[in-house]
Structure formats: C-alpha cells, structure tokens
Amino acid sequence: MSTLKTRHESRTSPPSGPPARERRTRGKVTGRTSWSVGLLALPAVGFFLVFNYLPMAGLVVAFKEFDVNLGIFGSPWNGLANFAYFLESGDAARILFNTLFLNVLFLGATLAAGILLAIMLNEIRGTFFKRASQSVVFFPYFVSPVVISIILQVLLAGASGGGGAVNDAMAGFGLPTVDWYTEPGPWPWILTVVKVWQLGGYLSVIFLAAITGIPEEVYEAGMIDGASRAQMAWRITLPLLKPTGAVLLVLGVGRIFYGDFGTIYAIIGDNGTLFENTDVIDTYVFRALRQLGDFGTTAAIGLFQSVVGFILVVIAVLIQRKYSKETSIL
C-alpha cells in the first residue's frame, strides 16, 4: 500500500533539468568544470587545515621530555623514550591483543547488527510500529556510559552488591550463580553486547538511508521473477549495502588501535580483576599516567596508535581495490 504511494509521489516530481542544448564535452569532468567543482570543497579544506593540520605540529611533543613551564615547543627532545615507556612494559603484548581482539569483536558485531536491523526494519512496511521501533532502537546511543554502568550493575550485581537480575534468572534455571565483577572470562562478550546495544540502532539508520536509495524497480523485477522476501533481502538489498558497509569497515579498521575509552572505563573502571581480558591501550595509559599528567607520553602512544591504524588502513584499501574496486573509498 504505502510502497505504491511513495512510488507515485516520486514519479510526479522528477528532477527537472534545463532544456536540451548541444555540448561537446561529455563523460569525464573537464579541467574547467573540475576547478569550479573544487570550490565546493574549499570551506572543508580550510577547516581541516586550521583545526586539524595546524595543531598536528603539536605531535612533536611525542619526542620531547615535556615540561609544563616550557610548553610544547620549548621542552627538550628525548628521542624515542616516550614510546619505550609503553612498548617496554611487560603488559604491552596482552594490552595490544586485548585492544585488537575487542575492537574486531565490536566492529564486526555492531556492523552486522546494524545491517541486520536495517534489513529487518525495511521488511516492516509503513506502519506506526516501524516508525516507533526505529526511534526506540536509536535511543541507546544517547545513554551516557555512567548510566550504562548503573544498569549493568543492577543486572549483574544487584543494587546491594550481591545477586543481580541475571543471577536470579540463572538460579531460576538451576544454573550456578557467578560473581560477574570478579570473573574476567565473560567480559569481552558482555562488552560486545553493550556495544551492539549502544550502536546497533545508530548504525542501522545509516544502512536504512542506503536502502531507501535502492530503486523500487529493482524489487519489482525481483518480484516478477517470483523471488521471496528473504531471497530479495539476500540477493538485492545486502549486495547494495556493500559499499556503505565497506566504507564503515575501512573507517573502523583505521581506529582499531583506539579503545573505546568512555564506555570501557565507565563500566570496568579500576576493577583490576577484569583487566586481564578488558584492558586496552587507552585505559592502561589513563591509569598509568593520571597522576603524572605527562603530555609527551600520551602523545607518543596516540601517535603509535595512529601510525599502526594508518598502516592497517592502507592495507585494507589495497585489498579492497584489488578485489572489489567499486566499493573502494579511493
């Protein structure tokens, strides 16, 4: 019903171009027009130069022995000492592994959840339920990590620090209860569930917008061929979401060495019993340096995360260009 209506609407308002006129240039954009099209990017270029590239001069502090009074440029050089601090610590291997492992989990799970949710939402046709559910699944994105932490404690430990809703339920099924807050094993998965809850709806909005860009005719053709809804979702919608998914994936790969500090720290905090499986670069650095306030070491670790991320992105883009050129961001 509603599909018909939207189709009808869009038919009535085709983009109206000016009347046809002879032009010699066709196909690729020419030099003259490309110059004018470049104008559109100027404000953004200016922004990046001033607010991103100019401050990057501050990265030199990663190679300096930072002194509050001398500032960034006045502090003495100290070579790679700031980098040594983290890489030489006995925990570096475990923390790097945690960072990678957790981020791969988060990235994969949230993207999959976003795509699945978008496809399922797309199946529900123009009803109040569809609109309401879109709003509701979007909402967790706005819940501050502090509040997520409260909700988790209610579920896993109970308000008074013993029991909790999950343990009550497990006891109901005859399962043994768990002291969640001193048991590191399940935490990578608990955090993944939290991330999916937080971001699934948010990402589904992006994919939903991409789905709305798919011409209705494609589905009509599918229907004439007698494809089921499931087949159409699998063969039409999913492949058409590939470019968007690929972009998000590549962007995610670049940030894979950054932990999600806000959420992880709000939930885990200084609970050392859980670090074995949850400590990532950002939380480790925060903990080790909070009383030293050493901008040099912080900058060095940030630079390390960026450089490794950059290398990974370059590899990802090369692979993408080799196997799936049309989805490449370059």
Binding site: E9, T12, S13, P43, D67, V68, N69, L70, G71, A81, A84, Y85, S89, G90, D91, S149, I150, Q153, L156, A157, A159, S160, G161, G162, D179, Y181, T182, I267, I268, G269, D270, N271, G272, T273, F275, D279, Y284, R287, A288, L289, R290, Q291, L292, G293, D294, F295, T297
Partner: protein, 519 residues
C-alpha cells in the same frame, strides 16, 4: 515533497554565507573583549572543582560586593567538573593562562608543577606579615610540616588538624545485638558478623571503588588492618597516591637509613590480607566493590542498606543522619576509632594536607591572591563562602555550629577551609564530636619521623607509572580479598618486578635517606 527545490538551494547558500560571516565576526570581535578586561577593575580568576553550587549567583554577588569594598578587587571563579579537573588545570598551566589560584594536591599534579616552577613558593609572601588573618587561622606547626624540602608551595586547606580515617557504623543495629559501645577491632568484627547473620538485606561493610587501596597498607593505618590499629606507628610512603606503598624503617632517625620495604614484607600485612580474603568469602563486602562509585555507596548507606561506612575526622559522617532516619526510623550512627588505647594512643600522623591552594606563577597578582586567602580567613567571610548567605542558605547555631537550610555546597577545601573557623553541622553525633575534637589537638598525635618527606617521582617517572598500573590491576583485588592471597600476591610481585620495583625501591631509599640527613 511540497518544498520547491529553489528554497533548499537558498538555504544552502545562506548556510555558506552565514559560515563565512560567522568566522569573520568571531575572529574580529573577540580580541576587543579580551582587551576590555585588562583595562577594567581586577577580577582574580580561580579554578575550583565540582559543579556550580545551587544559589551561587547570589553568594558570588555578595562576596564580590564585600571584596570590592574591603580590598578593591573581585573574583571570577571557574568551576570544572571533578572528572576533568586534573587534566583541565594542568592544561591551563601549560597554556600559560593567567588565572590566579587553583586547587592542587599531591594526588593532582602539584609535585610536577612545583618542579617546573609553575606555582609560586610562598615562604616570603607568608612571612611578610601582610596576611595576619591567614597566619592566625593556620597553626604554624602545620605550615612547617607542609613544607616540601623546606619550601612551601601552597596554602594548606584543612578543616581538622589531623586526618584519621575510621568507621561510621549503624549504632541502632549494634544496640539491637547488645553491643552498646564498640571500641576495638574485635568488637567491630563481631558486629559485622552479627549483621551478616541477622540482617540479610544489609551489607556489613560498604566498599566503593576508591577504598581498596586504603584497606591494608595505608598511612596512618590500613582501614581493615588490625595490626596497624594496635600499632599505629608505621611510616609509609609512595611516589604518587595510586602507586606502591613502601614501609620505612622506624629507627631511620637513629641509623640514618630509611630501608624502605614493599608493604607485604612489613609486620601484620600478610595477616591483614588473609583477613580481608576471609571477609570477602564470608560475604561481608558488597560484591561490586571495585566498581561502585562513592556517591552511589553513600546513597545506599542513607537508604539503610549498609551497616558500616568509611569515615574521616572531618566532622561530616553525621550529615547522613537526617536522610537515614527518614528512610529508617530510629536509625543511629556512631563513629568508631578502634585504636588500642583509644584517645590516648598517640598514633603517627604526617599532618600533610590533602589539598592546597596554589598561586599561579603567571597569575595577574600573587599579592592579591594572598590577600584573598587572608580575607577568607576572617570568620564572616569564611562563613559566607563556605555556607552561603546567612538566613537563606544556613542559620548559625551557637558560635561554632550551623544548620543547613538550602542545598548550597561550596568546595571550601579549594579556597577557604580554616580548621579554626569551621562550623560543625548541627546534627553531629556525640561520638563523632568526640573524635573530631580529638583530631583538632596536635598533641594527641606523634609526628611521623618521615612527616614532611615528599618523594619526587620525576627520576623514576616511567617505572612509577608502570607500578601504578600494576597496583590497580593486581593489588586492589588483593586488598578487597577477591583473589586468593598467595596466588594474587605472587602475581602482584611478578608484575611489580617487571615494572621496575627494584629501581623504585632504590630511588625511595635514596630520597628518604637524604630526607633523614636533612632533619
């Protein structure tokens, strides 16, 4: 679909135009505003932690009116949320901003700022005789003990002379179990087990995520360390607040050797670790101790869900009483200090202030900043800042008590805490008053032989950072008994060895020996 395409294009064009205009306007107009300030009357800029107090505008207006009349300048405080305070304050120092005073402390970045010369050494200002009210309200002995290697880097902000943590317990429950007056650790232990047995819904000991490090090896005593309560004469020192505590030799003054040892080698420590492990397994603590924040725990205490809370000799534990009695009619609170020998125990005390007001070396006027400290040492001004407007925010009760009537809460410890001027809350219980009074008398304590020894973390910066990280990971679970003592300690030792414990220990010995020599 009804919007014509033209309007959208117009909107975008307008957006672009707006952005350019805004940029230009923003860039050109601001310097003028900055210039205005320098020309006009002086307003001291202060960094304060926490959120803006309710009713702040009215109090600030009153403060500035008086300040203008008394001293000819005003103040312009800036409130910075707790969680960002350390970083923000350091950032402002680094950027060379011209604010005048800030809260600093060893648990913030004070040692670093002192080392780099970012904050003013106060000795000559303080001895100039220009600030009589300030010097009259801070005990000279306290000033002396808060000098670091002879230098004073901030005005100590204290509301009691000595700070000694202890227990705030639900006396109504203790009465019910027939324990009318608990005075020692054994009594407390019996109380906790009684609570556990007889009140299933009440946690015997409430722990929040900031407490673990205070439980076993802490200065002056570990909160749940019976040996230290019996022998409160151990000297502990660490490079930074979250780092490893070393125990220093008691006879250092005689031998000249401080001989620092990691806490677990000191007497009583292993027993205390095993004790908290037993408490944890017997369910005396809340299971989410390592995660629960302090405010949430307070709230549970006020709701009657917790039988014992951490208390400090700051006269504030009784503040929970009105809310508690509302939720649990008939509830009572008592403060218990389980020292062997009670009030006559004469425990060690370093008298190190937890909080200082420091003067920015690049501030507009260090002299005026000191004048402000002096001004805040006059009772009427002190009361106005700390408690708000009389009649509206609070009512005096006698000369040294007050009754709160609004929700105005000022971070006095960042500007105007003067032990001699502090008023007590009206509700203060008898037992708390007793220990609060006790803590005001310097003669009830023995000055720790290492009292003003403040180790400088700079030479072992990296090792210290790694040790700090290892402590949070392996020591905190040990301190609340969440892991097996032997295995947990083994892991901790290994992690500390990797992190550079040996180097840290050697540096501690070097600095502490040097301190002993200078005594």
């Amino acid at each position: 679909m009804s919007n014509p395409t033209m309007s959208r294009r117009g909107l975008l064009a307008a957006g672009g135009g707006l952005s350019v205009a805004a940029l230009l306007a923003a860039c050109s107009s601001q310097p003028k505003a900055a210039g205005n300030q320098a020309g006009g009357a002086l307003a001291l800029s202060l960094l304060l932690p926490g959120d803006v107090p309710a009713g702040w505008d009215a109090v600030l207006a009153e403060v500035n009116k008086k300040l203008q009349a008394d001293l000819g300048f005003t103040i312009k405080p800036q409130f910075i949320p707790w969680t960002s305070y350390g970083q923000q304050a350091l950032l402002k120092f680094t950027a060379g901003e011209k604010f005048d005073t800030a809260l600093q402390a060893r648990w913030l970045n004070m040692t670093q700022l002192a080392a780099s010369g970012s904050i003013v050494e106060l000795s000559s200002l303080l001895s100039s005789g220009k600030y009589p009210n300030l010097t009259a309200t801070i005990d000279p002995k306290i000033i002396e003990l808060n000098r670091w290697s002879g230098k004073l880097y901030g005005v100590p902000q204290i509301n009691s002379v000595a700070r000694f943590h202890h227990f705030s317990i639900r006396q109504d429950l203790a009465d019910k179990y027939g324990m009318s007056d608990i005075t020692d650790f054994a009594g407390l232990e019996k109380f906790w087990y009684d609570v556990k047995q007889k009140n299933k819904d009440i946690t015997p000991i409430g722990l929040n995520s900031r407490l673990p490090k205070l439980l076993v090896a802490w200065n002056p005593v570990g909160w749940l360390n019976p040996y230290m309560w019996d022998n409160p004469t151990m000297s502990l020192a660490s490079f930074t607040g979250e780092s490893l505590n070393f125990v220093l030799a008691a006879d250092g003054k005689q031998t000249g050797s401080s001989h620092p040892i990691p806490f677990w080698e000191a007497p009583g420590m292993m027993d205390a670790l095993r004790l908290v492990r037993k408490y944890y397994q017997d369910g005396l603590f809340n299971k989410n101790a390592l995660t629960l924040d302090s405010k949430a725990l307070d709230s549970q205490f006020k709701a009657g869900r917790v039988a014992t809370a951490w208390a400090m000799t700051d006269g504030l534990s009784s503040a929970a009483l009105p809310e508690l009695t509302k939720n649990v009619p008939g509830a009572m609170i008592a403060n218990v200090m389980p020292l062997k020998g009670g009030a006559n125990a004469k425990p060690y005390q370093t008298f190190q202030s937890d909080n200082f007001v420091v003067l920015n070396a690049k501030g507009q006027s260090n002299g005026k900043a000191m004048q402000l400290q002096d001004w805040a040492s006059i009772k009427e001004n002190h009361d106005l800042l700390n408690y708000g407007i009389p009649g509206k925010d609070w009512n005096p009760v006698g000369d040294d008590k007050y009754e709160k009537v609004s929700t105005y809460t000022f971070p006095g410890f960042a500007l105007a805490w003067r032990a001699k001027l502090e008023r007590r809350i009206k509700e203060m219980t008898e037992s708390e008053a007793k220990w609060f009074d006790w803590a005001q008398d310097i003669d009830n304590f023995t000055v720790d032989p290492y009292a003003s020894f403040v180790p400088d973390p700079e030479p072992v910066k990296r090792e210290n950072a790694q040790v700090t990280a290892a402590m949070t990971q392996f020591a905190n679970p040990l301190f609340i008994g969440a892991v097996d003592v032997d295995q947990g300690l083994d892991k901790l030792k290994k992690a500390l060895d990797r992190a550079g414990l040996a180097k840290l220990q050697a540096e501690m010995a070097k600095q502490a020996d040097a301190y002993l020599k200078g005594q």
